[in-house]
């Protein structure tokens, strides 16, 4: 069984949303840099993005338009949140000898993001979340 290729329309929607999301992440980093110690800005970005991804299936328009679902999910929020910076920040903290802080950051981000998904999901009905996932909104 071969999976059909994703349509160019959806790929463009993801690219456009991803560009906006990454720009938002970059802008926040310019205004409130992570600096030394706990990377609060990246932490907040990942928690906020996780909450939003769990909640947006509740928007009626997202359920009606698959291109909007991927522009917002894999696009905007996928581009906004980042796992590479999270991993690199943890590595840098360990490198500086702040092992406990690195551990707190790694586990704290994960726990906060999972909790955010739980809370965000309350804003979207189960059926809407299932449709959103079927439209590849969670990729």
């Amino acid at each position: 069984m071969t999976t059909p290729a994703p349509s160019a329309r959806l790929l463009l929607a993801v690219a456009a949303g991803g560009a906006v999301g990454a720009l938002l992440r970059w802008c926040l980093g310019q205004v409130v840099p992570d600096g030394d110690g706990f990377p609060w800005t990246t932490f907040a970005i990942n928690v906020l993005g996780s909450f939003a991804l769990a909640a947006i299936p509740g928007l009626v328009a997202v359920g009606r338009h698959p291109a909007l679902a991927v522009a917002l999910g894999p696009g905007l929020l996928g581009g906004f949140t980042t796992l590479s910076a999270y991993a690199e920040q943890a590595r840098a903290l360990v490198d500086e000898g702040a092992v406990a802080l690195a551990g707190a950051y790694v586990v704290g981000t994960l726990a906060a993001c999972l909790l955010a998904v739980l809370l965000g999901g309350r804003l979207a009905p189960v059926a809407a979340r299932r449709d959103f996932n079927a439209h590849e909104g969670n990729e």
Binding site: T3, P6, L10, L11, L12, V14, A15, A16, G17, G18, A19, V20, G21, A22, L23, R25, W26, C27, G29, N46, G49, S50, A52, L53, A54, V70, G73, P74, G75, L77, G78, G79, F80, T81, T82, L83, S84, A85, Y86, A87, E88, A90, R91, A92, V106, T109, L110, C113, L114, A116, V117, L118, G121, N133, E136, N138, E139
Partner: protein, 110 residues
């Protein structure tokens, strides 16, 4: 100019993640796992090579930032349920940390 490079990098990274997930995420999110680990490796490399300014904006903040995702990772973890979710979350975090360390070590030798 920097903003434009961030957007350009993301316009490659985000659809690449979507394509990997499209082909590999079912039933287990292997595609998202793959891009999260690969992006962490490349960012570790960028960090060791001391990329800054326009190069870091394009490859690090734009491409790696958008190739990887925390939002899809956390939603997928919750959707997988306790057992598979715990395995997926552990696998992603541990492999991403190993990858970023390996990328950094490789870059430091160059």
């Amino acid at each position: 100019m920097t903003a434009l490079l961030v957007a350009l990098g993301a316009m490659v990274g985000a659809p690449l993640r979507f394509a990997c997930a499209h082909y590999l995420d079912h039933p287990f999110p292997r595609g998202t796992l793959l891009v999260n680990v690969a992006g962490s490796f490349v960012l570790g490399l960028c960090s060791a090579l001391s990329l800054s300014g326009s190069q870091l904006a394009l490859v690090g903040t734009g491409f790696c930032g958008a190739l990887t995702t925390y939002s899809a990772f956390s939603v997928q973890t919750m959707m997988l349920g306790p057992r598979s979710g715990a395995a997926y979350a552990t696998l992603t975090v541990v492999l991403a940390l190993i990858a970023v360390t390996a990328g950094f070590a490789l870059g430091a030798q160059a």
